[in-house]
Every structure is written in structure tokens, then in C-alpha cells.
């Protein structure tokens, strides 16, 4: 395979993702694990750009890094003031876990790579590659629509075809928010010592 820029960036960011993941698992301190997680999530965002999904790349940075990772960092910081027990990892010493993961990965890898995945034709599918002029209907003598970028298509289908998923996401977020508040809230008469 030729070393095109896409291939180069795939291996670069894939390596960054794997290094970040190993850092999450093998870091001694939890705060280093959190920073490694941010590195890994940023690599995944770069892979989304390579996979021609720029909207998802932005969502990944905004929600995962700006939301979840910062939430985890806050939890680590809050727990830090109460004592050191939450802050350190013991070294992983579990050969059985390694065995299970190896068996799982080898079997799944053999299954997934032995399937001949059908590849659709490339014609008319270059929309995400910033070559919008090729797919604008006007070029084929059809009626001119809004330029169909990735974000436009996602927004259109989220509000038309998959509107049920959109509503379900709102309900899930509401329930999770109320549940988290009820969990962490102090009970009546509970001492406020901590």
C-alpha cells in the first residue's frame, strides 16, 4: 500500500489511540489515566476526520473530551481532597484477564477479517470528501437543493427519519440527570460532615 497522507495519518493516529489506551490501563495514578484517556479520545476524533465524518469529530471533541473526560477529572479532583485511596491504581496482575482478552480478540479478529465485506461503488459517494461540486444535483440537470454536507445530512435525517432516536436521547439524558442528582443529594438528617 502506498504511503499516501491518508495512510500515514491512519497509522499515526491509530498509534496515538493505542498508546493512550495503554496509558489508561497501565498508569499508576488515576490522573495520568485520565490524561491518557483524553489523548486516546482525541485520536479517535482524528480518525473520524479520516473516515469523512467531520461532524462526529467535532461532537467527539466537544462531548467526550469537553464533557466526559472533564467530568472524570473533576471526580478525581473532588476525591483528592478526601484522602488518597481513590487516587492510585494497583498494578494489574491478572493473567486470566489477559488470557480471556487474547482469546476474545483472536477469535473476533479471525471472524471479522475472514468475512468478505462488500464494498459499495465509489461513484456518487464522494460527498464527504469536500468535493461537493460532484454531487450537487444541478450538475446532473436536476433541481438545485441545499449543498449536502455531512452536517446537513445528519441534521436532516435526525429530524425526519430518525426523529424517534432523537426524542429517545432527550428522555435518556433527562432521566440520567435526575438520577445522578438524586444519587448524590444528601438525605434528610444526614450529617454534612463531608
Amino acid at each position: 500500500m502506498l504511503l499516501t497522507p491518508e495512510v500515514f495519518h491512519f497509522y499515526l493516529w491509530g498509534g496515538i489511540i493505542l498508546v493512550g489506551g495503554l496509558g489508561v490501563v497501565f498508569s499508576r495514578r488515576v490522573i495520568y489515566s485520565a490524561f491518557s484517556l483524553i489523548l486516546s479520545l482525541f485520536g479517535v476524533s482524528a480518525l473520524y476526520v479520516l473516515l469523512t465524518a467531520p461532524f462526529l469529530a467535532a461532537v467527539q471533541v466537544l462531548l467526550y473530551i469537553g464533557g466526559i473526560a472533564v467530568l472524570i477529572l473533576f471526580a478525581v479532583i473532588v476525591a483528592q481532597q478526601k484522602g488518597g485511596g481513590i487516587l492510585y491504581n494497583t498494578q494489574p496482575h491478572s493473567p486470566w484477564a489477559l488470557l480471556v482478552v487474547l482469546v476474545l480478540m483472536i477469535s473476533m479478529g479471525r471472524i471479522l477479517t475472514s468475512i468478505q465485506w462488500p464494498v459499495a461503488s465509489v461513484e456518487g459517494r464522494t460527498m464527504y470528501n469536500l468535493q461537493i461540486s460532484q454531487i450537487i444535483p444541478q450538475a446532473r440537470g436536476e433541481e438545485m437543493l441545499t449543498p449536502q454536507t455531512n452536517t446537513y445530512v445528519i441534521g436532516l435525517s435526525l429530524s425526519r427519519t430518525y426523529v424517534m432516536i432523537f426524542e429517545l436521547m432527550s428522555v435518556i439524558l433527562l432521566v440520567a440527570m435526575i438520577g445522578a442528582i438524586i444519587y448524590v443529594r444528601k438525605e434528610e438528617g444526614e450529617s454534612g460532615s463531608d
Binding site: 491518508e6 489506551g21 479520516l50 473516515l51 480478540m105 449536502q148
Partner: protein
Amino acid sequence: MVPTEHYIILALALFGIGAYGFMSRRNLITLLMCMELMVNAVNILLVAFNRNWGLEVTRGAFMQARDVQSPIGQIMVIFSITIAVAEAGIGLGIIILLYRHLKTAEVDEVNWLKW
């Protein structure tokens, strides 16, 4: 164009790292981070398959545009990111609650329901 098999291998490796961390670590916050790693591996697979299969899956989803690639995989990723956000909020709430009661965040010291 990087073939889909390479993305499959990468996602498998990331999932394996996350699963190994999930099974060998004892700190609850680290467990939550390993779960995020596994969710991200599946998300990579969804987007990679969406690039190959998007046109065939739901072509009828759009009335006017015929050759528009369907973003069904990317919408599933958005849904999964929403689930992950809710899961992180609830999980960290539970961790803080456990820490308030037990003064620990190790999974094997939380044995209220054992025996």
C-alpha cells in the same frame, strides 16, 4: 483509501485494551475510563462500516437526494455518545456515593450484596 479491515484491527486492539483494563483494574474511576475506551472502539467500527455501506442501507430515507450517503452509522454513534454521557454521569454519581459511605473506590471492597 485505508481498507476497512485496518479499522477493524485497530478497533479490536482498542477494545482488547479496554477489556483487559476493565477486568484487571480495581479502581472504579479507571473502570469507567476503560468502558469509555471500549465504547470508542465500537464507535470507530460503526463509522468505518458507514463509509462502506451507507448508501445501500437506507437509500429511501431521503426523498430528493438520491446519491446521498446515508448517515445511519454516524447517527448510531451520536446515540452511543449520548448513552456514554449519561453513563458517565450516573457512574460518577455512584462512585462518589460509594466513596462517601465506604471511604474506598476499589471494586472488591464493595461487598454489601455478597453472602
